[in-house]
Symmetry: C2
Subunit: 228 residues, 2 copies
């Protein structure tokens, strides 16, 4: 018997801005006037590594380049997830910082759009399920890996980092304890820059020091933020 299974990749790309979490979706046409929302993705080339396939599809369909990319899960238990063919999908989890939240014009990218996570419509195939799994991963990782910084600009305020954690994890935390905890790690550094907003005391900008973090990792450090 000859195996006849298609292999696709799909990307769940998260972006964050002003206390809101977004997912990158594309609008696809089925037939003449029916449109569906779906995750960016497509079939893998015969000689193409999976990871490159995701990056290519993202580039083609949305013109977005991500800051962070890792494999999420392979969806292949529902044999009829695509009604036309047997297709398994290797889903990837990705993050972009807020500077990339505007779609750059591109042949196909016009159908791409950032949608707030609590306003995601019905998606094609099992894509709602995939997004759900990605959100769980994001929440989990936020507490044990410093991926929150990949969602923020290079220089950020502590209040921004704090509201990012609170909005994504849907929990409250004490501003002052959070700050102390993060600073105690030693890989978030104060910069010279100072933000002036319309109200309140001006705040220092901070930055994530990747090198310092990797060094600490090697010394056996283990990142963790507990949210009650």
């Amino acid at each position: 018997m000859i195996q006849n299974i298609r292999v696709a990749v799909d990307a769940i790309v998260f972006g964050y801005q002003n206390g809101k979490l977004y997912v990158l979706l594309i609008q696809q046409k089925f037939g003449t006037n029916e449109t569906y929302w779906a995750l960016p993705g497509g079939l893998v080339g015969n000689d193409e590594p999976l990871k490159e396939a995701v990056q290519r599809e993202l580039k083609e369909e949305t013109n977005v380049e991500v800051n962070y990319l890792e494999q999420l899960y392979t969806f292949g238990d529902d044999v009829y997830r695509d009604t036309r063919n047997r297709v398994i999908s290797v889903a990837y989890f990705a993050l972009v910082d807020s500077s990339k939240l505007s779609i750059k014009a591109n042949t196909d990218a016009e159908h791409a759009q950032w949608i707030e996570v609590n306003q995601i419509p019905n998606l094609a195939f099992d894509h709602n399920k995939i997004v759900q799994k990605a959100i769980e991963r994001l929440k989990a990782k936020l507490t044990y890996q410093p991926i929150g910084f990949d969602l923020l600009p290079k220089y950020f305020l502590f209040s921004e980092l704090e509201t990012l954690y609170c909005t994504i994890l849907e929990k409250e935390i004490d501003r002052r304890n959070f700050r102390k905890k993060i600073l105690s790690f030693g890989f978030v550094e104060e910069t010279e820059k100072i933000s002036v907003h319309n109200t309140g005391r001006p705040a220092k900008f901070f930055q994530f020091n990747t090198q310092k973090y990797n060094q600490l990792l090697q010394e056996g450090f283990h990142f963790e933020i507990k949210f009650a």
Copy 2:
């Protein structure tokens, strides 16, 4: 262009007994007199869910039924991992308790064998890499999910649980603090049974209460064992 990619599943099954961790491997013949060790696995059927494919292959090739099964990772970045065809492999991570550590006779199962993890030979394809990733997953999960109990018999001694943790994580821990920590969770219960070994004070058998654990999970409980 027609996509021509094979989809395989591979299983990394761990077993534990007497302070030793084992992986289930099979001996395969290539050509006439060349033999290779490899992970159990094979191609997925056209109408077969991935998870069922693993279970079928395990049954066929090793006659083993596992206690715990979850998807590990999909290996598909090395385009030439199989030199004959483009094959991507969806790897699964599985556990059996010590009662299943003897291979039951079966047509194909004669080539299956439990090999100690620190004596794993060169394996076919990228299977050494896959096993490595599985070991990392096992170590990580042991600290934040109660999967250690799936490697032990239904009734076990605290000393057995303790040495399991110590051998797999390759670390020492204080016996008394470990016991207190585990018991504080409330899902490991004392039984009436008592073990009499040749030396020392007789020990109570304990058992894992799945129902209690699930109940605690719903109440927001989060399992965690820290190893210095």
